[in-house]
């Protein structure tokens, strides 16, 4: 038994549902399963029409339990922390005095004179944002853009807060990387706003590295983002296990919202909670809703996002229970930031006819009122509009262009309309003139969207892209859209989510743009092959794209020098055969065909997702060679990278080569490039 088999055997021991054990007690009997199957087969021809609510087919229960995972995350995450003493809900008396705000919030988006967002959509600043996992919020400030999030804190398993800023929206800088306020203990930053001394960020954290860690709602303040002050642990204000998930600066003062997490017996409770501050430094806990058991929630619960309009109306969105104890979309509203009302929790506009429930993820305020976005069961987008923050209408998205997108993650006002971002794989943008009817305007690239900022200089989206081993933070920037006049061609529909490898940068980039985003030549060659060798990148048609933008030594290292001979190899993995053609074959330096067999995976070079080596054995008996493939980019239907000849036997000893390859649907591999014979033989 080799090591791999031993490892798999070892893994198999962990199988709780091993073949020789009875089925779990919760499993259906065969009769019950058959009855259900018969019912479903019979159900396929039924049509369901709901005259008043958006028509939607019933999602399969198991699909929609997507958020069971989320609930497990929430429960599991909380259970990772100190459970805290048993206590019931805490009701906070409304303060009898009102402290006038000492900071004036920006009433409208200030002129973004420093922003210089690009004319074409592109990922910006990704080089400086590795290895951060993701960004959670982004705002426009007087001096550009600020994005916040946290990294996994791999060294000590304690997350570290992350602050990025950009004056022009293109070049990004990480601030305060070594600031103890962002590194001590665990720091998870979820929201940011301008206010207080300059910037106010919120999230949750623990003060030290002691175990157990009981993270609680935390506030960070800074003058300019380069150094931060962290709120002291104050259980009487912030609780002992709690979180602040968003903050907004209003005419009333700074308002933060999140929740308390408590345990009563074996019941896990969440209590929506609002905090208030006039200066960003001193905070009061001013309101708490009714606590409810969230352990069976199939979606996120509590406050998720806040927005305030020019009239001082503040809206918070998320998920909570209705009078029946069912998890439904939740919207709370306030006229002063201290007293909050829940919008009719029993309204059908907030319910789902699936088993999973509604997630309301983000909300924005603008000239058109308020728009909230989220998901219905993780399978369909959900959108609500209100002219005043009080009366809400759910948009009928049945026949709208959301394709396979299951949720909208971020929304902002743009002009008198709205722009939203979602990602069922590909980060995609939609606009709406009224919050109810939407047009897809652009698909960016595979990744996740967390925040969107629309300015008069363009649009920026913050989130993450899928890396080879983990996601890393990303910001995309591009020109604005007019919700009243969406582009007639929004481009191809979003791709499904990537499951492996790194996605290629967006299609259509020039050599200059590729160089600007920091790609090396191997990545550039891979990009060219990935998008089927656009001639714009290789104007002289010699198979070496973007030659003018890279040093010749860098190019020759991959595709060879003056003595190289061109070759094209087609591999059929189904039959395990290859054919080769070109001057390298004509001159006898490579055979015209043979068999292919996978050899091994080996250590990939930097920036490559993977490397594998295949053995090519020539039918003419002339020998064999090992061709190594470094995969750089992965798409839904194909992947691409660069190749080399690792070794050879018989007539192929000393043969080297290189170029690009593209594998389509894991069945065929198109390999193009050159071989350069051993010295003295050409």
């Amino acid at each position: 038994m080799n090591d791999d088999q031993l490892l798999l055997e070892h893994l198999a021991v962990t199988d709780e549902f091993a073949p020789d054990t009875p089925l779990p007690a919760e499993a259906w009997t065969r009769d019950a399963a058959l009855a259900e199957i018969e019912r479903r087969v019979g159900m396929q021809t039924e049509e369901r029409i709901r005259p008043r609510l958006p028509e939607r087919t019933r999602s399969r229960g198991w699909l929609v339990a997507a958020a069971a995972f989320v609930a497990v995350l929430i429960v599991g995450t909380v259970m990772l922390f100190w459970p805290g003493p048993d206590r019931g809900p805490v009701v906070v008396d409304t303060p009898t005095t009102t402290v006038p705000p000492t900071t004036t919030p920006p009433t409208t988006a200030p002129p973004q004179s420093s922003l210089n967002l690009p004319d074409t959509w592109q990922r910006v600043g990704s080089q400086t944002m590795t290895p951060v996992v993701g960004l959670f919020d982004m705002i426009a400030t007087r001096s550009g853009l600020v994005a916040v999030g946290f990294d996994p804190g791999e060294e000590d398993f304690r997350q570290n807060g992350v602050i990025f800023s950009s004056a022009d929206g293109v070049e990004w800088t990480r601030l305060a990387e070594d600031d103890p306020a962002l590194n001590l203990g665990a720091v998870l930053v979820y929201g940011v706003t301008e206010g207080g001394p300059g910037l106010v960020a919120v999230g949750m954290g623990c003060e030290d590295d002691a175990e157990p860690c009981a993270p609680h709602a935390t506030v960070w303040t800074s003058v300019d983002g380069t150094s931060w002050d962290r709120s002291a642990a104050a259980p009487e204000v912030f609780g002992e296990l709690s979180a602040l998930l968003d903050v907004v600066n209003t005419e009333h003062g700074l308002i933060g919202a999140g929740g308390f997490y408590t345990t009563v017996g074996e019941t896990e409770l969440i209590q929506p909670t609002v905090w208030f501050s006039s200066d960003g430094i001193e905070w009061e806990r001013v309101w708490q809703g009714e606590a409810y058991d969230y352990s069976s929630a199939t979606t996120l619960t509590g406050f998720q996002s806040l927005a305030a309009d020019a009239d001082g109306r503040v809206v918070g969105v998320g998920t909570a229970v209705n009078d029946e104890g069912e998890f439904v979309g939740a919207i709370w509203t306030s006229t002063n930031g201290r007293n909050w009302d829940r919008i009719d929790p029993n309204s059908e506009a907030f319910t789902s006819d699936t088993d999973s429930g509604i997630s309301i993820i983000d909300v924005a305020a603008g000239p058109g009122g308020f728009v909230a976005v989220g998901s219905d069961g993780g399978a369909e987008v959900a959108i609500w509009h209100s002219p005043d923050g009080v009366a809400w209408t759910r948009a009928d998205t049945t026949d709208q262009p959301f394709e396979n997108i299951g949720a909208l993650d971020a929304v902002d006002a743009i002009g008198t309309g709205w722009i939203a971002a979602g990602a069922g794989g590909t980060v995609t943008l939609w606009t709406s003139p009224d919050g109810l009817t939407w047009d897809r305007v652009h698909s960016i690239e595979p990744g996740y969207a967390a925040a969107i900022v629309a300015t008069d200089r363009g649009i920026a989206v913050a989130g993450a892209v899928a890396g080879a081993d983990d996601n890393h933070a990303a910001v995309w920037a591009g020109p604005a859209f007019d919700p009243a006049a969406p582009p007639t061609d929004p481009g191809p529909a979003p791709e499904q989510v990537q499951e492996d490898g790194a996605p290629a940068p967006i299609e259509g980039l020039s050599c200059e743009e590729l160089a600007d985003i920091g790609l090396g030549y191997a990545e550039t060659l891979s990009y060219w092959v990935f998008y089927e060798r656009p001639s714009e990148l290789d104007p002289d048609g010699n198979g070496a794209p973007c030659e003018a933008f890279f040093p010749s030594e860098m190019i020759e290292e991959i595709v060879g020098g003056a003595d190289k001979l061109a070759v094209e190899i087609l591999v059929d993995y189904t039959s395990g055969t290859f054919t080769a053609a070109g001057p390298a074959v004509d001159d006898g330096f490579l055979c015209p065909g043979g068999s292919v067999e996978f050899v091994d995976n080996t250590e990939p070079p930097p920036a490559a997702s993977w490397r594998w080596e295949d053995l090519y054995t020539c039918d003419d008996g002339g020998g064999s060679f090992v061709l190594g493939a470094n995969e750089f980019y992965t798409g839904a239907q194909h992947l691409a990278g660069v190749w080399d000849i690792a070794s050879g036997t018989d007539g192929y000893v000393g043969l080297t080569g290189g170029g690009g390859f593209a594998v389509h649907a894991e069945v065929t591999n198109v390999i193009i490039g050159w071989v350069w014979p051993p010295a003295g033989e050409n």
Binding site: D4, P19, V133, F157, Y190, G378, A450, E666
Partner: protein, 186 residues
């Protein structure tokens, strides 16, 4: 035109022979209350595609392929839900969502399981199909819907990544250290 009686007989045979295996597959990957639905879904699809179902021992890997797609669709939803809107997410981005509230029998298994959970979903799935479902490379290629070479590559890739992830632990030892979970101790 396929004979309805023959189709039903084929379906019943496949159901009788493979219901347990498909149910276990789904229970390994989904919460209990969803696993039953998923398993029923697999056979619902199988019924609709009965004329495509292989007659012989390839039927089970074929069913696994359907099950994989069903679970994958579920995972796309939950992955999107988990990715950034999960504001209490302190788990790896591709953390397995399944209810492995399994009681792991000893520390070394916990270490391997922890290493498994740290991998991307695609790698986890390949390893599960190899280790839990016990599929051969040929069967794996059917379940994944790819060539045998591709299945071999992906399996080797997944095992290598598991080895690397498990390498930080001495998983052959019953006294392997347990990493401190993110954000605190369990």
């Amino acid at each position: 035109m396929p004979d309805p009686a023959a189709s039903e007989a084929r379906f019943r045979k496949a159901f009788d022979e493979h219901f347990d295996a498909i149910t276990r597959y789904c229970f390994r990957r989904l919460p209990a209350n969803q696993a039953n639905d998923a398993a029923a879904n697999v056979f619902t699809v199988a019924w609709k595609k009965i004329d495509q179902m292989p007659e012989d021992e390839r039927a089970l890997p074929w069913l696994y392929g359907i099950a994989r797609y069903e679970v994958s669709t579920f995972r796309r939803s939950l992955r999107r839900a988990a990715a950034l809107s999960s504001k209490l997410n302190s788990q790896p981005r591709y953390a397995d969502p399944d209810p492995e509230t399994v009681i792991v029998r000893n520390v070394e298994h916990a270490s391997v399981l922890q290493a498994l959970h740290s991998l991307k979903h695609a790698d986890q799935e390949v390893l599960r199909l190899r280790a839990y479902e016990g599929l051969s490379l040929d069967e794996l290629s059917t379940a994944l819907g790819c060539s045998r070479e591709a299945a071999k590559k992906r399996s080797a890739r997944a095992v290598k990544r598991l080895r690397k992830a498990a390498g930080q632990y001495d998983w052959s030892s019953p006294h392997a250290p347990r990493a401190i979970p993110k954000g605190g101790d369990a």
